[in-house]
């Protein structure tokens, strides 16, 4: 169970998260975290993993306040957005390294076979294509059986076959009763897989509920349209900028133009 209360984070003077309250408690639920670029999706995920240190607020994972802790991460499997590994290690060495670091049971053989990584096991990671590196990335994320699975843009660089395997895997993990969080820009994936949606806007939770509730609320037929509707409304209702005084040179007065 993940509980987030009043989470704030700013980078310098730029606020990124502004009071996030969320709870992910239902097992076997896939939640898609959506939002436009810069809405705080990745920062929220990184806060859960302890990579970003929150300015204010509380994050509890299975009842443990995660601030300053590291052991709790054994309960989370994470797929980072960008896969880049040490150039001179081979694929099998990298997998051995992560297994060595985590010291938990891993089912790497299955995923090596599933993603067709056998021919690459003895190749250096620096020589692999982006897509193959992403398959290694997926293997590292899925080979453990942790109760929480966090996937940051998982579809990056995957070919259609790997994408198909990926969808199957997600459904399988869901069946196992895991809490799964996904950030993505691919709305068809959300429509097909997600049970719940969290929509972030300007660092706040704009919507948290089921996919059908989102569509209902916006009276749209698809998630994509519902999201577009939220963003359009937001644009329309954007508070008007403060009228700026226009100065006319050599005149002793100014006047305001409001739109």
């Amino acid at each position: 169970m993940i509980t987030i209360r009043n989470l704030h984070k700013a980078f310098g003077n730029v606020p990124v998260l502004q009071g996030i309250d969320l709870e992910f408690s239902k097992k076997g639920t896939i939640t898609a975290i959506l939002g436009p670029n810069g809405s705080g999706k990745t920062t929220l995920i990184k806060s859960l993993l302890g990579m970003v240190i929150p300015g204010k607020g509380l994050i509890e994972i299975n009842g443990i306040d995660v601030r300053g802790q590291w052991e709790y991460r054994a309960q989370i499997d994470y797929l980072p957005q960008i896969a880049r590994f040490p150039d001179n290690l081979t694929v099998s060495e990298l997998i051995a390294m992560i297994k060595d670091l985590r010291n938990q049971n891993a089912d790497d053989a299955r995923f090596i076979q599933l993603f067709g990584l056998e021919p690459y096991l003895d190749k250096r990671l620096g020589n692999l294509s982006g897509g193959t590196q992403q398959k290694v990335n997926l293997t590292l994320a899925f080979m453990y059986d942790s109760p929480i699975l966090i996937l940051d843009e998982p579809s990056n660089g995957l070919d259609p076959v790997a994408m198909l395997h990926f969808r199957e895997l997600i459904s399988e993990e869901k069946q196992k009763g895991k809490i799964i969080l996904i950030t993505t820009h691919i709305m068809s994936l959300v429509e097909e897989m997600a049970d719940e949606v969290v929509f972030l806007l300007d660092g706040k939770v704009y919507f948290h509920g089921t996919v059908s509730a989102l569509k209902e609320q916006q009276q749209e037929s698809s998630v994509e349209r519902a999201i577009a509707a939220i963003l359009n409304v937001k644009k329309k209702h954007k508070p008007l900028e403060k009228p700026q005084p226009v100065l006319i040179p050599d005149k002793a007065f100014s006047f305001n133009i409001s739109t």
Binding site: F11, I53, E71, R73, P80, I82, A83, E93, L101
Partner: protein, 260 residues
């Protein structure tokens, strides 16, 4: 931490840059031994190269390795590991791989020369130790600079400037200071100033060991005059060890406070 160190070392010992660095020392040392044959002279010549080159290479390696593994660090941070262990492990891996290149590059020719049965073994060992300590100090400071600066160009620039400061500018500043205040007794001041530059400290350590007063320069001579060779060596060695702690402490502080 040891596991991270192990895999960083695995990765770096296969890097062609490590081989190049090793090959350079191998050829250079072999050539010097072949041309001169006098261990003390070779040690002094090598010293002049090591004092400049090993901090420079360590600086470049430290910055490069951090920026190269930036994305991989995110994957490591998501594992159940302490932050400090990840960064200390990587830093020590970089420093150790450099040390291995230096140790083998210089050690192999000296071993063939028969240093273990010849006079001057102590000089040779001091030289090796100096090179290794400098590799640790400078790769650590470079790692720290990279950790504190997300902008690669800024990080590289600052790291090179740091090396330039310690290798060249610092001595120039000390010299200017000594000239400006030449009417005052400056022995203690110059002694104190040397403690703040690891390259100077390493130079003093070797020169005191070699006992070549002609090459010692002002600070070295002051060290010998005030403290004697033995005490001078102890002090400079102790100060170098303190210098080793500085980057390790800095990396810890930065790693704990940083957002990735």
């Amino acid at each position: 931490m040891l596991k991270i160190l192990k895999y960083t070392l695995f990765d770096l010992l296969r890097s062609r840059w490590s081989y190049l660095y090793f090959a350079f020392y191998l050829v250079f040392t072999a050539a010097l031994l072949f041309l001169s044959g006098d261990v003390s002279k070779v040690v002094v010549s090598l010293m002049n190269v090591i004092l400049i080159l090993s901090p420079l290479i360590a600086t470049m390696f430290g910055v490069m390795y951090y920026y190269n593994s930036r994305d991989f660090i995110e994957l490591l941070l998501a594992q159940p590991l302490r932050r400090t262990h990840i960064f200390w492990g990587q830093y020590l891996g970089v420093a150790l791989s450099l040390s291995v290149s230096l140790l083998l590059g210089i050690g192999i020719p000296f071993t063939f020369y028969g240093i273990f049965h010849a006079a001057g073994l102590g000089h040779f060992l001091t030289l090796l130790m100096d090179g290794i300590i400098l590799s640790f100090i400078f790769s650590g400071i470079a790692f720290l600079i990279a950790l504190r600066h997300e902008n690669k160009i800024k990080g590289f620039g600052l790291a090179i400037l740091m090396w330039l400061f310690f290798a060249v500018i610092y001595d120039g500043l000390v010299l200017m200071l000594l000239i400006w205040f030449r009417d005052y007794p400056l022995e203690a001041t110059s002694l104190g100033l040397a403690l703040f530059n690891p390259i100077d400290l390493s130079r003093i350590l070797i020169l005191l060991q070699l006992d070549i007063s002609a090459l010692m320069g002002y600070t070295g001579a002051v060290f010998q005059k005030f403290l004697g060779s033995q005490m001078g060596m102890l002090l400079s060695f102790g100060a170098l060890l303190l210098w080793l702690l500085f980057p390790a402490w800095g990396i810890r502080q930065s790693a704990l406070a940083k957002d990735f």
